[in-house]
Amino acid sequence: MNIIEITGLSKVYDANTMPVYALNGVDLAFQQGEFTCIVGPSGSGKTTMLNMLGGLDSPSSGKIMIDNTDITGLTSRQLINFRLRNIGFVFQSFNLIPVLTARENVEFIMQLQGVNKDQRDQRTLELLDSVGLNDKINTRPNKLSGGQQQRVAVARALASKPKFILADEPTANLDSKSAEILLEIMEKLNREEKITFIFSTHDSRVVAKARRVVTLEDGKILSDVSSTRPGS
């Protein structure tokens, strides 16, 4: 079943002066449980695409259906609420609220959702454990390494039980060792918990872990390749 369907998606910047087609008529669908990487040269439209999928920016034309909801038709308030309940985000860096500890950052999302305290506590610990940070629960972001911060961000993205997680170059600011650990965690969550990940990267080693690779160029899909991976 498709959880995301985008049709005729375009985004034009500076339409009146020097129009830039960041996305140009993209049709694409994503299924539950995917582990998909969006690649392409700088300026090809990866960030734009992920922003559209996450409802962080509105398209110039086209439709984005997420679980039968056309998110382009939502008001700003509805969209924020929709994100809270359906989409997890991991950004390139500085994802976390600096004044909150790792545990509070994760819990924060569930608080916004109105989850009760007992459930929050339990799930927060489980999630931090699943990203291998059970010894850092009371640490604030500035005392965590970049890789650890990204892992907390993954735990936070999972906290809301989203339909999918979007990650725009999550490893861009990490050393290769940390990048590898982060990818392994994401992969494991995808494999074991069927969490859907859609991420972008410039790193070929990260691309290699993906099961589906969508390549963009000049705002258009150049290729869309799925590989079957042993054991999946």
Binding site: L56, S76, L84, F91, V99, L112
Partner: protein
């Protein structure tokens, strides 16, 4: 993590900035309160002196008397008039007076005087005239005994026990003349009063001026001076408005009021400047706080916090900083105001001399009243709210995708 806790943690991200901002608010409210307290204390002190040494809170005259203080502008005063005045709830004490000029003569000396006929007991209740007696006795309710002010007495060369001759013009131009035994000498600190006052009881003055049952003014004090306007209006309604004028003390003392207003204007300008400086200081902090955190706001809204809540947290942060400064400022000013309310400042130099020459003790108590404290607290809170307009707007117009790129 509730909003307040989040806001509280956020403001301590930059301790120095928060403390500096709070300190500027502290200083502003502290100085503003002290300045206002001084001014209002000074003002109230002088008002009390004027009210208690002469005018009362309100005076009733025949219409037109205050502009032309002539014996022919006197009015009839009797128990029924008094009953009408007393029927107004807030009215406390009343003092009827008949005042007009006369010529005094003793031995070879002659001098113009202000002759005041008054009810001895009621006069004393309002102005404590008996306490000013330096020789002899205070007035009696009956008889012809008079009080002469000390400066006048020494000019004429008389003392208690002597007899003063008074000559003048009475009601409707009738000539007035009489011999009056001096029963006491009173001293006024104000040279103007000390050189010209003669007091006698009201019936004696009415007799002298051939003005039976007449007075020139009825001074009224109030139980609650705050309600002076409504009381004046009530009095104006009860007495015949076509025949009488009912004046607030400050409407009568126009010149003194003018001077007081000029003096307090300077203080208000100082306070306005203080608040402007603080306003810009707080605004600077708000701008820095907002701009540094644009990306963070982007993340927070992305992951699902409504902008309204984020804006609320930011306003809370500013309120917390503002309140820290505000409450500590009020807390610091309070004991100072309290102390100097009960232990008035001693004035010195020219100011003290000026006070003494008007017969006023050169003391200045500070005022401690809830109204000006509340006004200043509200002003500061408003300033803080106004500075919050900027970040609130920034948050509501935040473009999440762009903010994430910062």
């Amino acid at each position: 993590m509730n909003n307040i806790r989040l806001a509280w943690r956020n403001i301590w991200r930059n301790k120095r900035r928060t403390l500096l901002t709070a300190a500027s608010v502290f200083l502003a409210i502290f100085l503003a309160l002290i300045v206002r307290s001084l001014q209002i204390g000074w003002f109230d002190n002088l008002s009390d002196i004027v009210i208690q040494s002469y005018s009362g809170h309100i005076q009733i005259h025949k219409k037109g008397y205050w502009d032309d203080r002539d014996i022919n502008n006197s009015m009839v005063f009797n128990d029924s008039v008094l009953a009408v005045v007393k029927s107004v709830k807030n009215v406390d004490k009343t003092v009827p007076r008949l005042e007009y000029f006369a010529l005094s003569s003793f031995g070879k000396q002659t001098k113009g005087v202000m002759l005041a006929g008054t009810d001895p007991a009621r006069e004393d209740a309002l102005t404590k005239l008996s306490a000013k007696v330096v020789r002899g006795r205070y007035l009696e309710p009956r008889g012809k005994g008079i009080l002469v002010s000390q400066g006048l007495a020494s000019f004429l060369g008389l003392t208690a026990g002597d007899t003063l001759v008074l000559i003048g013009q009475g009601f409707h131009g009738v000539s007035a003349a009489g011999k009056y035994p001096v029963t006491g000498i009173v001293h006024f600190p104000s040279p103007v009063l000390d050189n010209q006052m003669v007091y006698m009881n009201l019936p004696a003055a009415q007799d002298f001026f051939s003005a039976d049952d007449r007075i020139t003014s009825l001074s009224v004090t109030l139980k609650n001076p705050e309600e002076i306007n409504s009381t004046r209006d009530a009095l104006q309604r009860r007495v015949d408005g076509g025949k009488f004028e009912v004046m607030r003390w400050d409407e009568m003392m126009v010149e003194i009021m003018q001077q007081l207003k000029v003096k307090t204007a300077g203080g208000k300008i100082i306070i306005a400047i203080l608040y402007m400086i603080v306003g810009f200081g707080v605004f600077g902090t708000v701008i820095m706080m907002t701009n540094e955190r644009t990306r963070e706001f982007g993340v927070i809204v992305s992951v699902g916090m409504q902008k309204s809540r984020l804006a609320f947290i930011l306003v809370l942060e500013m309120i917390l900083i503002g309140l820290t400064g505000l409450l500590s400022g009020v807390a610091a000013a309070m004991p100072i105001m309290l102390y100097f309310k009960f232990n008035p400042l001693h004035l010195w130099g020219n100011m003290a001399q000026a006070f003494i020459s008007y017969g006023i003790e050169p003391l200045m108590p500070l005022a401690l009243k809830s109204d000006f404290i509340i006004t200043n607290v509200i002003t500061v809170i408003l300033i803080v709210f106004v500075t919050c307009i900027y970040p609130v707007r920034r948050i509501f117009t935040l473009n999440v995708a762009e903010a994430l790129h910062k």
